[in-house]
Amino acid sequence: MADKSNEKTTKPLDEQFREMVTQWERNFDAFANQMMGTESFTRSMNQAQDAQMTMRKLFQDYMARNLETANMPTREDIVHLAEAVQAVDRRLSRIEDALMGMQSNSSPGSARQGPPRTKQPPSRQGDQ
């Protein structure tokens, strides 16, 4: 009995705290969204993003120059190499698809794996 009465007295406190957090979250988000939905915020945000992007690019270029000086492949070199591999990969994939298509045409049904594909929805089984 004592436990039950404890539940009744303490549970609302937990819930109240959670509700308070949820309410704070909603109010804060609503206020922030209102502020962030303005044209001036959009302009400032994009300017900040632009600066962030410029910094990234400067760092990338600096790294590339250093790698080049050290006679090591740059990111661009690796990208070109990867693009060549990607082109080969695509051609292989097309060949693989064509071969699989020929195989399945010559022996229909041979690809089937796993349990039988006979399941019926509950409404047609008359159960549940």
């Binding site: 004592a2 404890n6 979250e25 988000d29 690796i78 591999v85 994939s93 794996q113």
Partner: protein, 356 residues
């Protein structure tokens, strides 16, 4: 008086117990390894660049004839469909008798910066469907697309009106991009130079993508941390929170061309809802879609608000179509305790009737 004392003692007792449990779980939370996710047994059946296709091992004696392909959004990992045992959509669908495949994405590498909507909808999805057909021996497939995965699925469906798509399910899929709220405001073409961004970076970094999500709900992270602290004594809650936190932190970067095309053609020109989108020379008019369609949307979705999702039903030509609006947000619609109760059974019931 005695009853009051007993009540107070019990409260103090509980407080002490929870404080100890908080300390133990808190330590585990800080020091513990990353929480395991995506545990349902599966095989990788296709692996090409950013694309991964998983085939989940069947968990029933017989399965529905039509295989099911879940298409994940390009911004996040697909283990949200398999976040934890008992809270896993794929595990649920496997147990309900579906043969489940999931199209997941890895972070695009620098050489994949030129991937665009054409690659995703005319190459990746068709490649997955061919693989599924080869494995299952079935000529058709049902697709369930989540968020941007739903957009890609719609474009695929609209550009392949003669099959082999049997059913299409869209989960919180934005169609009218002019109703995208803050994203549209922030990416105002007068201030947002997408060309400069893409030309400079090639791949849009994950932190840019994550920032744009988090800024829409700036208090969410702090509120989640407070809730986590308050519930730190509850081991299940902590595990679940850690899994969701991991998922949120593993946001993916985006291929530059794909981001450019999405911004210009979908967000600015709203071509999906206008029916003017052309992908690899094919019209992606939603009116081309005639297969049965089910659309789920969430009441409190801030990423794909209801007005952005609603036009799907009006634009498609399908006669068998249904929209279900549920309580919850963008993520809680598909994963977590509310999804288990609300969305999953309705998805199962709708698909079951159309998967024989």
């Amino acid at each position: 008086m005695a009853e009051y004392d007993a009540s107070l003692a019990a409260q103090v007792n509980r407080l002490v117990e929870r404080t100890i449990a908080r300390s133990v779980n808190g330590l585990e939370y800080i020091r513990g390894p990353a929480i395991p996710v995506g545990l349902t047994p599966k095989d990788v059946v296709l692996e090409r660049g950013t694309l991964r296709l998983y085939h989940y091992r069947p968990q029933s004696d017989e399965v529905y004839r039509v295989p099911l392909l879940l298409v994940m959004a390009t911004t996040n990992k697909a283990y949200i469909f398999d976040i934890a045992p008992g809270q896993s959509l794929v595990e649920y669908l496997c147990r309900r008798g579906f043969d489940v495949f999931v199209l997941d994405w890895e972070a695009p590498r620098p050489h994949e910066r030129n991937l665009d909507l054409g690659d995703y909808t005319q190459d990746f999805i068709p490649s997955c469907i061919r693989t599924i057909s080869r494995i299952t021996g079935e000529p058709d497939v049902s697709i369930v697309g989540y968020c941007m995965g739903g957009v890609l699925s719609c474009i695929y469906a609209a550009t392949h009106p003669n099959g082999p798509l049997k059913n299409l399910v869209c989960l919180t899929t934005p169609i009218d991009w002019h109703e995208m709220g803050l994203v549209r405001t922030w990416q105002d073409p007068r201030y947002y130079d997408v060309d400069r961004l893409v030309d400079t970076l090639g791949i849009i970094p994950a932190d840019f993508v994550m920032q744009s999500f988090e800024m829409q709900r700036p208090a969410q992270r702090t509120a989640s941390q407070i809730r986590l602290w308050e519930q730190m004594w509850n081991e299940d809650f902590v595990k679940s929170a850690r899994a969701f936190e991991r998922w949120g932190n593993e946001t993916l970067p985006l291929a530059g061309e794909y981001a450019r095309q999405t911004t210009k053609e979908l967000l600015w020109e709203n071509k999906l809802v206008n029916g003017t989108l052309v992908v690899d020379g094919k019209s992606a008019d939603l009116a081309n879609i005639t297969v049965p369609v089910l659309s789920f949307c969430a009441e409190h979705d801030h990423l794909a608000p209801y007005p952005s999702v609603r036009p799907l039903m009006e634009k498609i030509s399908s006669t068998d179509k249904k929209e279900i609006k549920l309580k919850g947000g963008h993520v809680s619609l598909i994963a977590g305790p509310n999804a288990v109760r609300r969305m999953w059974p309705q998805l199962d019931a709708w698909l079951a009737e159309r998967s024989v």
